[in-house]
Point group: C2
């Protein structure tokens, strides 16, 4: 099986746990441990040992009975699966308050993301640079995203324009959208979306402390 | 039933949907509509009509058979349940890259959150102000959070100090924690946590575009 095919086959819940495993494995390696047991990892992370063993097995790294997995091989395989070794370049749409907050966040690169360019329809904002990222007019979105062959889009626009912006991104070749707009996007098959509605978490917290 | 008791009784999935309903109801009111039907709202949001009717009924606003709910009454009740009319004041711990991004985000206030004060253990950062929020030394956390009677904490610290910071917040009276640190916190009963591990969503996106 090609490595690429292997990656495509990973289920989403497994992929979501990979960063969690990766951090734990890196911490183990930093402590000088060279082997990882799924049972120990599961206990440390409060997860089901069977689930952890399956997740790790899906990385393609062979585990050795009784010994466990090579920490180094696991780190390499998991990092490759979620792009931590080669940050994906993304287009950010909507350089308002939240968009700028994300542009200013320095922690993305080590989590597999690099914001290559931003777009905004506001002429006062477009043309400027923010934390080293150029903000272009929204009219240039399709051409630029195509030219840079970007596959990842970050949507930080108001709700009422989110679907139109998503459509433009998809038309330009974007395959994954990180959606911070409080809207369920309608997207063609093959385009993956991750919704981050900050208001929903905040609602739970605000409600709980009242 | 007291209004407060009523609020306490709302299940978390319902509360998470309230911001979604609220935005839709506000849009309806802006279009001049004064009545909300759960069926229409469900269709618009792609949700199960029975679920929507139950969620709205739990707000305590009486629906009228065939007519539906008063849009204004629903807006008031839902906004009260999730604090959109009275932003909760929060303490932010960890004024690094992500912490500052959140401090600089102007959209929280209308979503029921106001960052009252921030803390950081780095002496170069403590003592400064960022977007109008004072950053105090971490040593002042307990005293200050108690004095301001804050109930909400935002954790934007590195993983290895997250639990200790959470413990300090809880000891100082915090009842809800918005946790951006990539760690499962161990918290006493009665303290609500919402985990926001950005790396997990990013992992799914990065994996999907490979």
């Amino acid at each position: 099986m090609e490595k690429g095919d292997n990656h495509k086959a990973l289920p989403q819940p497994t992929v979501r746990r990979y960063p969690v495993y990766l951090r734990a494995i890196r911490a183990k390696r930093a402590r000088g441990e060279s082997l990882v047991s799924s049972a120990a990892l599961a206990a440390e992370l409060g997860l089901d040992p069977v689930l952890v063993r399956k997740d790790l097995a899906m990385s393609g790294v062979p585990g050795r009975p009784r010994l466990g997995w090579s920490a180094q091989a696991l780190e390499t395989a998991l990092a490759a699966a979620i792009g931590w070794n080669h940050p994906a370049e993304a287009a950010l749409v909507g350089a308002g308050s939240l968009g700028k907050a994300l542009m200013g966040y320095g922690g993305f690169r080590e989590q597999g993301l690099s914001i290559a360019v931003a777009f905004d329809s506001n002429p006062d904002v477009a043309g400027h640079e923010f934390h080293g990222v150029k903000i272009l007019p929204a009219t240039e979105l399709k051409r630029k995203v195509r030219r840079l062959s970007l596959r990842l889009g970050i949507l930080t626009v108001p709700a009422h324009v989110a679907q139109a912006c998503a459509d433009a991104l998809v038309e330009a070749g974007i395959r994954g959208i990180w959606n911070f707009a409080p809207v369920r996007l309608s997207l063609p098959d093959g385009v993956v979306v991750q919704n981050m509605d900050l208001a929903q978490s905040l609602a739970v917290l605000s409600h709980s402390i009242r």
